[in-house]
Amino acid sequence: MDFRFDIIAEYAPFLLKGTLLTIGLSLAGILIGTVLGLLIGLGKMVNNKLIALPFSLYITFFRGTPLFVQILLIHFGVVPAFLGHTNAVAAAILALSLNAAAYIAEIFRAGIQSIDRGQMEAARSLGMTHGQAMRHVILPQAFKRMIPPLGNEFIVLIKESSLAAVITAPEIMYWGRAMAGQYYKVWEPYLTAALIYLILTISLSFILSRLERRLKTE
């Protein structure tokens, strides 16, 4: 089998641009997903069941349906409803953020609930409001425990951003598909794409393990 490095070289600029978009999509998904996930996680923990219900439903929907389907629905349904036309990058960011938010909400909830009840009681007995106790006492501790599962979620997000190729967001996999379509070659584009994803996820794992170690020594 002849492995065509020349067609990889030809597509290198596209793959590079695709890599940047993949990083951009993942970062946006992580940031928006984290903020949204925190709010949804807190919303689900509210004692009032009526208020908690929509948050609960949100998590059920986004965890219970494939991201692939969510991307298509958001691209062809949600984004055109707001913009009047499709926008693949916007749809990809929206889908990844909303999906990640559901998982991150559960990570937050588990993290917060893993903190001993005595911490909240001690903070409240010192006169702190529920919000102050959350912000200064519970969340900083919970956050430390959330880092490993959050890191896991971020790595999943990078990989799952490849599904955005289906709505033509020009990320790594989209250019891999284009390369395969032009030359009818399979190994060159997909092995190259695999290598790029691997470099991205290994780098992120490395950063996360450093972060974890640093927080542990504190």
Binding site: D116, G118, Q119, E121, A122, A123, R124, S125, L126, G127, M128, T129, Q132, H136, V137, P140, Q141, K144, E218
Partner: protein
């Protein structure tokens, strides 16, 4: 200072406190004793409203803390609480543990809060541990920090919920010493404890609880030496 009227508390169908009436005067040290499950810890937690009460009223300096119109957080500022499990904030240093509430709740400038915190640490004999994390402290040291942390809010009353029960026997003394000092300075205190020696020595009044009721209350010496109630006698014969 504190007046408790007809206090009732149930967890589901389990009634833990049944009609408690109690008045605590300023500068008084009240020691609560009784078998486990008698409701003594719950009583303490109700005074700080860590547990919502089922019935009755609790007045602190004339204000009904069970009245929803009163600001609960403001009330809690006046009442310091020390827990059996210390509940120090593990992600903060000793001095940060002490400064947190004054700075965030009272808006005390950080410098002032730190100076005051160091003063309190000196008082409990742990000035050199200011920058240490709680995980590096012994149980006795942790509890002394917890007392300093509660004192930093300058409470009018201090509640101690079995403060020495989780400690190794050899460090119980150092914590009791700090509490004695506090009593001597005129702090109003309610202490739930199994330390009968402390109750006898420091308490102005001892309350014996059983089955959700206050069974007997008196000054320490008559209560310990001449209990009037059968249940008090039975309990004391076991613990003394």
């Amino acid at each position: 200072m504190i007046k408790i009227q007809n206090l009732k508390k149930s967890f589901g169908t389990n009634e833990v406190l049944k009609d408690i009436n109690l008045t605590i005067k300023p500068q008084e040290v009240v020691v609560v004793i009784g078998p486990s499950g008698s409701g003594k810890s719950t009583l303490l937690r109700c005074i700080n409203l860590l547990e919502s009460i089922t019935g009755g009223h609790i007045y602190i300096e004339g204000k009904d803390i069970t009245d929803k119109k009163n600001n609960l957080n403001k009330m809690r500022e006046e009442v310091g609480m020390v827990f059996q499990q210390f509940n120090l904030f593990p992600h903060k240093t000793v001095i940060e543990n002490i400064m947190l509430a004054p700075v965030k709740v009272r808006n005390v400038p950080a410098e002032t809060a730190r100076a005051r915190g160091l003063e309190l640490l000196r008082k409990v004999g742990l000035e050199e541990k200011a920058e240490a994390y709680p995980s590096s402290l012994s149980g006795g040291q942790k509890q002394r920090v917890a007392i300093a942390r509660a004192l930093a809010m300058e409470p009018k009353i201090m509640l101690f919920d079995e403060p020495t029960s989780a400690l190794d026997p050899e460090v119980v003394g150092e914590v009791l010493e700090v509490m004695k000092q506090l009593a001597k300075e005129g702090m109003t205190m309610v202490v739930v404890t199994h330390e009968m020696g402390f109750a006898r020595e420091v308490g102005d009044r001892v309350i014996f609880m059983d089955g959700g009721y206050i069974v007997e209350e008196n000054e320490p010496i008559p209560l310990f030496e001449n209990p009037q109630q059968e249940r008090t006698q039975a309990f004391l014969s076991k613990v003394l």
